[in-house]
């Protein structure tokens, strides 16, 4: 079993968060920050600006006219949305070619991430709820602990995946038994270490057990990410070595009031967008693929 300290050391040695993402995260956490503050961070970074505009103009964000400047994007999409788009672009650039231990390549890992982001957001809409703040980013980054824990998993993978198969337990539970912590713990530590907004850390920490989230956490957000994660795996979006060994909690389904027909409709409406957006990310300079 490895200690938390060793994992945290590993987290420190992971890619440094790009300066622009760190600064944008600080701004989105600051209620006093305005459009011009965001513009001042994004505009000097030509690759970020180009990719932000490319993503902002994709069908998913539903703008009626083409945006050609950062200011326009902020005006039309709003600060939080621009943060979501900008951070997703920078994170897609940080992915390694493969995620060790889980036996999944960057493209399929990112397909899963985008799938959860889109499904969680759309599911909120389908259920007639206002999408929780930053749910797209929270969904997108829910599994980032896998990037940090993966290298430990390489050595322990036979034991972890052996337990998944032999004991029919889910992947996160097997990680916890063998490594002493799971990718959810590690992901939230990473989010906190990087000072990412609260919803990102919450989704990372509680996406396998939303019912145990403390009161200060947006339960609706973690429930939506939990169900979206299950739906994405079910639809084959980014199958890693854990395959379908994931638990879906009836309590989360009950709290959301979602049924299988609603899930199927949400899947039918979004599957094209999910593949389209994953491809778009891959076209962003230096991105996946």
């Amino acid at each position: 079993m490895i200690g938390k300290e060793e994992i945290l050391k590993r987290i420190q040695s992971l890619h440094t968060l790009p300066a622009s993402t760190a600064r944008l995260s600080a701004l989105v956490n600051d209620p006093k920050a305005g459009a011009s503050d965001f513009e001042a961070v994004i505009r000097p970074d030509p690759a970020l600006t180009a990719n932000l505009l490319r993503m902002a103009n994709s069908a998913y964000f539903g703008l009626s006219r083409e945006v050609t400047s950062v200011r326009q994007a902020i005006t039309l999409l709003g600060i939080k949305r621009v943060y979501e788009v900008a951070s997703s672009v920078t994170f897609s650039r940080m992915l390694p070619a493969t995620v060790p231990g889980y036996e999944i390549d960057a493209t399929h890992f990112w397909l899963h991430c985008v799938g959860v982001a889109v499904l969680a957001e759309r599911l909120a809409e389908e259920l007639g709820r206002k999408a929780p703040d930053l749910i797209f980013t929270a969904g997108l980054l829910h599994d980032m602990g896998k990037l940090a824990i993966g290298s430990f998993l390489v050595d322990a993978s036979e034991e972890v995946f052996g337990r998944v198969l032999d004991d029919s337990i889910d992947l996160a539970a097997a990680e916890k038994i063998v490594l002493g912590m799971d990718h959810a713990d590690v992901g939230s530590d990473l989010a906190e270490h990087w000072n990412l907004p609260g919803p990102v850390s919450w989704a990372a920490r509680w996406h396998h057990n939303p019912g145990e989230a403390p009161e200060n956490v947006d339960r609706n957000l973690v429930d939506l990410v939990h169900v979206a994660d299950g739906l994405a795996h079910s639809l084959g979006l980014g199958a890693d070595r854990g395959e379908l060994a994931r638990t879906i909690l009836p309590s989360a389904i009950e709290r959301l009031g979602v049924n299988v027909r609603r899930l199927e409709f949400t899947a039918s409406e979004t599957i094209g967008q999910i593949y389209g957006m994953t491809e778009l990310f891959s076209k962003c300079a230096g991105g996946v693929g």
Binding site: H108, L244, A245, V260
Partner: protein
Amino acid sequence: MNSATKEATGPVCSGEHREEQASKSANQITVDISDIQVSADPGAVIVTYALGSCIAVMVHDPVRGAGGMIHYMLPLSATSPDKAKSKPAMFADTGIPLLFEKMYELGCQKKDMVVKVAGGGALYDDKGTFNIGKRNYTVLRKMFWKNEIIIAAEDVGGAKSRTVRLHVGSGRVVVRSQGKEADL
């Protein structure tokens, strides 16, 4: 599968895809999600990846020497009639008939066709709220019963992700799941 030894084999791709590249046949045809592919090339291998709750139906006609595969995602087109129009292979009830039509277009006859089924997996979900895989399979069984189509072999259900290959020349179907490969 040991990713460490295979990482160097080429561009970004998953373990399954990497293996495929290493032993790539002359004519590999990939079936995407909500997609149908048919072929009468005896050297062709039709493949689909990462079937979770989705189902793949493989049809082979040894007389005509043709094969086809659908990878459908959901049971019923009533879920979204619009999507059913633009992507009929997304649903069992609009996609499966289309697979058979495409086989007929190649000159196949229903009496000669051998039908196999794989997929329909499920997450751990005690109440079955989430069981799209089971619904996908139930609709397929109803359709086949009504149309007197016999399933020659199947590998369905369980918390498994499956990758399936159909060798058009021989009709051999190989399912890869949980790190193991088996003929269907």
